[in-house]
């Protein structure tokens, strides 16, 4: 293929590919407790809700998603495998046809020790 044609094709197709990977609904966020982590499937289930109306938010966590931990005023990167049930996390996510996909995940504490926050 001619080099100019190839570059043109890449420039034409790349935005379409990137757009396909973008969420189809606006960003949402959730703060809740880690219910389960599946490192192999790269997913995390977050327990949240309002009163007794509880729900589990299933998030896919692509390898590029920044996962951080905020402890003692410091923020450091951690791996998905370091998230444990009972960790309180704040996740920003969006929706795709395949489900919710995390953009960022921040561990803000442990449920049993409490977290200062407003819903």
């Amino acid at each position: 293929m001619h080099r100019v044609t190839f570059i043109s094709a890449v420039l034409f197709v790349a935005p379409l590919v990137l757009r396909a990977q973008q969420p189809t609904v606006p960003h949402d966020s959730v703060q809740g407790a880690v219910h389960a982590v599946d490192v192999r499937a790269r997913s995390v289930d977050v327990m949240t809700g309002v009163g007794y109306a509880l729900r589990v938010v299933h998030l896919q966590v692509p390898a590029t998603v920044p996962i951080t931990s905020r402890e003692a005023g410091q923020r450091e990167s951690i791996k998905l495998s370091e998230l444990k049930p009972g960790d309180v996390i704040r996740a920003v996510f969006g929706g795709r046809r395949t489900g919710f996909v995390a953009y960022t995940i921040e561990r803000v504490g442990r449920m049993e020790s409490g977290v200062e926050s407003k819903p």
Partner: protein, 383 residues
Amino acid sequence: MTRRWIGLAAICGVAACHKVQPGDPLGGLSATDRAQFDSGLAVFDNTFTPQVGLGPLFNASRCGECHEDPVTGGNGDEVEHHAAVFHPERAGAMCDELADKGGPVFQDSVTPALHAALGIDREPRPAIATVVAERSTPDIFGFGLLDAVPDSVILSYADPNDTNHDGISGRPNRFFDGRLGRFGRKALVPTLREFNAGAFSAEMGITSPSVPEEGTVAGNPLPTGTDPAPDPELSARGLELTDAFVRLLAPPAPLKQSREARRGRDLFAQVGCTGCHVPTLRTGDNPIPALSHKEVAAYTDLLLHDMGPQLADICFGLAKPSEFRTEPLMGTRLATQFLHDGRAKTLEQAIEMHGGEGMRSRDLFEALPAADRAALLAFLKTL
């Protein structure tokens, strides 16, 4: 002139003698707050039908169907069912409230449309549930005052490691986002507003701006056509008014105490009941003056206590199966059944069923002479 003064004195006398009755609003409300209370009562007592959003799974068709005795906002004889799975081996996350399988509240009624679609009469309980618990209907008088108590006050009573060696080790429950819980028999829910919004969903299947999505049937999506009302089924205004009604309900004024009841009040403290049933809590700053910096004779610390294996049922958040929040005793004289599931039919039975951290006080109560036991019970019947 004299007649005018006599009339004024009579009015003042009547006002002074007026005791807050069950179902009354807090005293000193602004006209706006009072109007919200009255409008909220109408929403609280409104009967929902499937056409306007009831169900398709539900426990009742209006709030006042359960909270009804002796007036709207009171207790009720209805019992509902909660289920969970307890994993004692999972440190830090021992409880699965079955939220992805329809839990923790498993509704006991379905709309005709859901019955026609699935042939069920109630939400199926998952087979993995280790316990299905019963929950009786408490009154909600004075809950706005409990909501207005600062976290710091509640936490000041916590003694999770029993460092004072009194055998009582209250500890806080927390919601999943880490905030301090206080509402519900296991103290999971942090605020009254969330408790109310969640109840519309969990008890009546009514969506609202706070809970915009319909629940599932044991974790499965609702069959098409079984929930015809558009979401949200309750407006933000309706939710706000309901919240105002519940928030502004006054606790019933305690009855005048006889000499026997006053002696019973002292015995209540002497046998250690006040270790958990803390007589008064103080509210903090609040935008509603009637809730701001008030003493509330709640007789609770809003903390979890181990009540022993005989009362144990489900886990909930951080609460283990045997841990329950200290039940507020304001309005106790209006109750006809006691404990979280109504298994005690008298106050004496309720005391006798206290185990765990309540065992020492129970034993001391049982060792009292009959007249002293009667005095303590007489005191409780003034609350």
